[in-house]
């Protein structure tokens, strides 16, 4: 963006403006301070603390940054590094937190453009920032390393009550996330499941490193998209649980960029010359509507509507923040995503409004059995969102407990 060279920064009134954000012209220094201020406001608790009796500095808490190597998580990374430097300078080498960084490497699932491979980029970051943080890289296939997190299930589209758990002992270490994803039908569900896997691994890393807080790099723009995306995927009940700051799995979660727009984060890394660390898989957004994901669609929607209704992003985020967290004390956890759910059989709700029975015929041999009977047997609790995301998925390495009616009819019925 080329700005009028005569336009000066509204804050310091001395320097020439380099960027206009929220209708306000900023110079480089004021803009950087403005964004850092927004991040620091959300992390006011991470100041250097001293023991009141001995006046010795307290042991700083360990915090984990989930670094996806996108523009927003990189800008958060830079803000944290600058905060650490400042704290060390002001407090004789002491800091308010100890920074750990984790990146979930999904290069086995998606190709990366040459030179943008996460491993190469992370190595560069490590060399430049080794004195401020510890960087870990977790391959996405580690998801299957621990049998207990690998609980998978299957149910097929014709009879949503039919699915079975993958037994722990049946787990084959050769199973990869790629295998798992190829068995899921649509792109939206693939991304949905991949997101669950990434988050599971981030929490696992946090526990291993004994971090008490996880920082997520989502900007206000991304949080607005996620709010609508979770709603559209039938995961509305977990919006307050997932998108507000608070405790999840005994770890505190913070979104320090919740008041920063995506365009601002992008400008931030450009101004500070760290855009060279951006690493994104080369996935092309398809032009055909049918092939898009729900997130693609919502990204486009917000990009379009922001022009006509600029306040919409903050409205959505503020509205989501007002929702009551009803699942915080839920009795169950979904066997797949691990998120709390209060409904032990969402399939019952679905069966009522998506009936899968044929019209009664005059021929009594074709009569259907009673409507909506859910077979009573021990089975895992799957939340509604996962029920939809894995609909029609079938994993060849897992056998179903019962044969599906469709499959039996298809194989044996003579037409």
């Amino acid at each position: 963006m080329t700005l009028d060279p005569k336009l000066s920064c509204r804050r310091c009134t001395n320097n020439a403006a380099v960027f206009i954000s929220r209708k306000e012209p900023f110079c480089r220094e004021c803009f950087v301070r403005f964004l850092r201020g927004k991040q620091r406001k959300q992390m006011a608790d991470y100041k250097v603390c001293y023991d009141p009796s001995t006046s010795a500095p307290q042991i700083p808490p360990k915090i984990l940054l989930a670094l996806s190597l996108s523009e927003s998580s990189l800008s958060l990374f830079e803000m944290l590094v600058s905060l650490l430097h400042e704290q060390r300078k002001m407090h004789r080498g002491n800091s308010g937190f100890e920074l750990f960084v984790v990146h979930v490497d999904q290069s086995n699932v998606y190709p990366y453009p040459a030179g943008m491979e996460p491993n190469t980029i992370l190595e560069n970051i490590r060399q430049n920032y080794h004195d401020t943080c510890t960087i870990t890289c977790t391959p996405v296939d580690d998801f299957f390393a621990d049998a207990r997190t690998g609980l998978q299930f299957i149910h097929d589209a014709s009879d949503i009550a039919e699915y079975s758990l993958l037994e722990d002992q049946a787990l084959d270490s050769k199973i990869t996330v790629s295998d798992l994803l190829t068995n899921i039908r649509d792109r939206t569900s693939k991304l949905d499941i991949l997101q669950i896997i990434r988050e599971t691994l981030i929490f696992k890393t946090a526990k291993e490193l004994e971090c008490t807080t996880i920082l997520w790099g989502d900007t206000m723009s991304r949080l607005a998209e996620k709010t609508l995306s979770l709603t559209a995927k039938g995961r509305g009940s977990v919006i307050p649980y997932l998108l507000s700051d608070g405790s999840r799995n005994d770890i505190h979660n913070i979104y320090p960029l919740r008041e920063v727009l995506r365009s601002e984060a992008e400008e931030y890394i450009n101004l500070l010359d760290i855009s060279k660390y951006v690493s994104k898989p080369s996935i092309k957004t398809p032009n055909v509507l049918r092939m898009m994901t729900i997130d693609d669609l919502l990204g486009n929607y917000f990009a379009d509507i922001e022009k006509g209704f600029p306040s919409i992003v903050s409205t959505v985020v503020r509205t989501a923040a007002k929702l009551t967290d009803t699942v915080a004390r839920a009795r169950y956890a979904c066997a797949l995503c691990g998120l709390p759910c209060d409904d032990e059989s969402p399939e019952r709700w679905l069966q009522d409004i998506t009936v899968n029975q044929s019209a009664p015929t005059a021929d009594s041999t074709c009569e259907q059995d009673s409507i909506g009977v859910v077979k009573d047997r021990q089975r895992p609790i799957i939340c509604y969102g996962c029920l939809i995301a894995t609909k029609g998925a079938s994993f060849p390495w897992i056998s179903t407990i019962a044969s599906s009616k469709e499959a039996v009819l298809d194989e044996y019925e003579l037409h």
Binding site: T315, V355, N356, A359
Partner: protein, 350 residues
């Protein structure tokens, strides 16, 4: 570990209906993508509405219920399905058609003719309440002629709500069912999120709305029925309905939410019910300690209101003041379809 292959679970092509495996499929079901035959489609469509009605205990035996009938596809299908289900499952409910005549030339006058035919087709009594008779001789055309094309949905919304209540009261009925479908519900959820309307967000998916400021209970038996399936049902059942949109098109913002819903449905057909599912879980904490609003009746018209004067009367006051000003100015007052015509001209393309 051996397992069945993907192919054996999901047949690639099916020559027979995926539900009965007997008849030839004649349509792809919008909600699920299943290829099914017409009888199975009718069966699942009707059964789902029956399930919605029974799980919410919507009706009781001997109840008299008014169907808000506009002559459009939704309310026509609603009237038809309710008649079928009432007979099939013996609900023991007496249904009445209740129509509102907003006074929109080229739209409501034609659709009311359809409702009048429906009255005979479904053997249900029909009651028509008009804006003109309720609101100081104001029709929607007159209102648009005066206030222009902006905000007229606000007037129509407030007036229709009260008109439906008054119509029902006139018939001694306490329950009105409307033809809101699943697409409408999903659109409302997204709209309320996008507008930050926390007063409505958590309640907009409720099947029954019974607010303190209305003497009549409202419900939406088609809340899980897809608009596309309603169109297919009306088509295959050869129902007599009127298919023109209101000439005064809705606000632009709602249009973007509508388009978004359609796109989401294309990407994932279940998105519409998934959004409703999400909407049903939304909860907002209400401010406690606020004094419950005192309900009284409107000083002017006697309708239930939390204020001294009800909203419809406030709007009417503004309209009447405007009308007087126009007459004082001496200009010819023409309550014709000028605005409607203007609106239609806007949509013409060559």
């Amino acid at each position: 570990m051996s397992g069945r292959s993907t192919e054996s679970i999901r047949p690639l092509s099916s020559a027979t209906c995926e539900l009965c495996h007997i008849r030839k499929p004649s349509l792809r079901r919008p909600k699920t993508g299943q290829k099914i035959c017409q009888p199975c489609f009718f069966h699942v469509f009707e059964t789902e509405i029956h399930n919605t009605i029974t799980s919410a205990n919507l009706f009781f035996r001997g109840e008299r219920v008014a169907i808000g009938a506009s002559g459009g596809k939704d309310s026509t299908v609603l009237a038809h399905v309710l008649k079928v289900l009432n007979e099939r499952y013996d609900y023991g409910v007496g249904f009445v058609l209740l129509s509102i005549d907003e006074g929109i030339k080229g739209y409501r006058d034609d659709s009311l003719k359809t409702v009048k035919r429906n009255k005979d087709q479904y053997a249900m009594p029909l009651e028509i309440v008009s804006y003109k008779e309720l609101y100081d001789d104001w029709s929607m055309d007159d209102i648009v002629a005066q206030i222009g094309n902006r905000n007229n949905c606000t007037y129509c919304g407030v007036f229709r709500r009260q008109a439906l209540d008054r119509g029902a009261q006139k018939l001694g009925i306490k329950h009105v069912v409307t033809g809101h479908n699943a697409d409408d519900m999903a659109e409302t959820v997204l709209m309320n999120l996008l507008r930050g309307d926390t007063a409505r967000l958590d309640r907009c998916t409720e099947i029954v709305t019974q607010s303190t400021d209305s003497p009549v209970k409202r419900s939406k038996p088609l809340k899980y029925a897809y608009e596309k399936e309603i169109v297919l049902y009306a088509h295959y059942k050869k129902l007599d309905y009127f298919s023109t949109e209101c000439v005064y098109s809705p606000e632009a913002f709602r249009g973007t939410a509508r388009a978004l819903i359609k796109n989401l449905e294309t990407v994932r057909p279940s998105a519409i019910i998934d959004i409703i599912r999400s909407g049903e879980t939304f909860t907002l904490e209400r401010k406690r300690g606020t004094v419950a609003t005192k309900l009284g009746t409107c000083e002017r018209c006697g309708y239930i209101s939390s204020n001294r004067i009800c909203k419809a009367c406030v709007l009417l006051e503004g309209l009447n003041a405007g009308r007087a000003a126009v007459q004082v100015n001496g200009s010819e007052y023409e309550p014709h379809e000028g605005a409607a015509l203007h609106k239609r001209l806007e949509h013409l393309s060559f």
